[in-house]
Amino acid sequence: MKIVIADGMHEADYIISKYNSKANDLIVINEQEDACKYLSVSNGIPVMCARCTRESDLREAGAEDADLFIALSKNDMTNYVACKTAKQLLGAKRCIATVVNPKNVEVFRKLGIDSVLSSTYLLGEQIRNAASIENLINTLSLEDNKIIILEVRITPDLNVEGKTLKEINISDIGSISTVTRNQKVIIPNGNTELKANDKVLIVTTEESREAVTKVFQRKK
């Protein structure tokens, strides 16, 4: 896969280290000289010191026909123009822009940028999810956050109340390990029905955590 990484410092470093392999063709372009040096030395790859909003600079870096173009500048406008240039003039298949101002997520999407990411925007979404399932009392993570254990108290306003595990069926995203009812711990099976005041322990992965919490949301 041909991936172009434009601007950014630690974000760029992380993405480069994640995708730096023989399977990928990484093109790294950065406006800041110190960032160029840092990224080049720490990853052992060439970094082009040039402007990612300039068509000629991008061509010189060899950024044509990228499968993925990622713009990581701290300046939202730079990321917008870089993605637009990559898409319209250099044939990039897919563009990702990061934004500092979360309000730009929706605007950039409307203007045709494939994916727009904002850490603050994501945080906002997380908070909204968390707020909708305040029953989720405890979480524990193991194995460097790879395994997540969630504890949920079942209340009558939850979607899952009164349903059997077979009906809830979260087998793709996690498993309901124990149900605590009247201080007794039950190892549940498919026919176990979740009732109000039950405490449920769910084992899942970091990736599936959100999907699991959605299942335990309140009734709309």
Partner: protein, 135 residues
């Protein structure tokens, strides 16, 4: 632009922006001149329109200043990327009929919609040099 009495917005209160704002205002248009630098706005003299200090890339702020009803917008900030973004916003979201932007790098015109009119000071200077030189 020869019409008068239309709502217009000018962003960027440098020399070019503020003089465009004055011209529009002298032609009896309602003008809002926007800049995020308070001192720049304060330095504009002989301008009878409205002024607003704020970030024009914030759409909420643009809407507060009447972008939805504007018939003409001019983005004259010193950052090409900001001007291009604002032009796209007005062209694609607000469907503003008349859009002008300043571009320092005229090669960026390639990614600007044909509905947007670009003013490129560098190119204009070169043309002017050519004309005076050949005289």
């Amino acid at each position: 632009m020869s019409n008068s009495n239309v709502n217009t917005i000018v962003v960027g209160a440098g020399r070019l922006g503020s003089n465009i704002a004055k011209k529009l205002s002298n032609n009896k248009n309602d003008v809002v001149l926007i800049d995020k630098r308070k001192d720049k706005i304060g330095n504009v003299v002989d301008f009878s329109g409205f002024v607003a200090v704020g970030d024009a890339t914030d759409l909420g702020f643009l809407e507060e200043n009447g972008v939805k009803d504007a018939k003409l917008v001019a983005f004259m900030t010193d950052d090409d990327n900001t001007n291009i973004f604002l032009a796209d916003v007005c062209n694609e979201i607000y469907r503003t009929p008349e859009i002008y932007i300043r571009l320092k790098d005229s090669r960026k015109m390639k990614i600007v919609s044909s509905n947007v009119r670009c003013i490129c000071p560098f190119d204009l200077s070169l043309i002017d040099f050519d004309e005076q030189w050949k005289r």
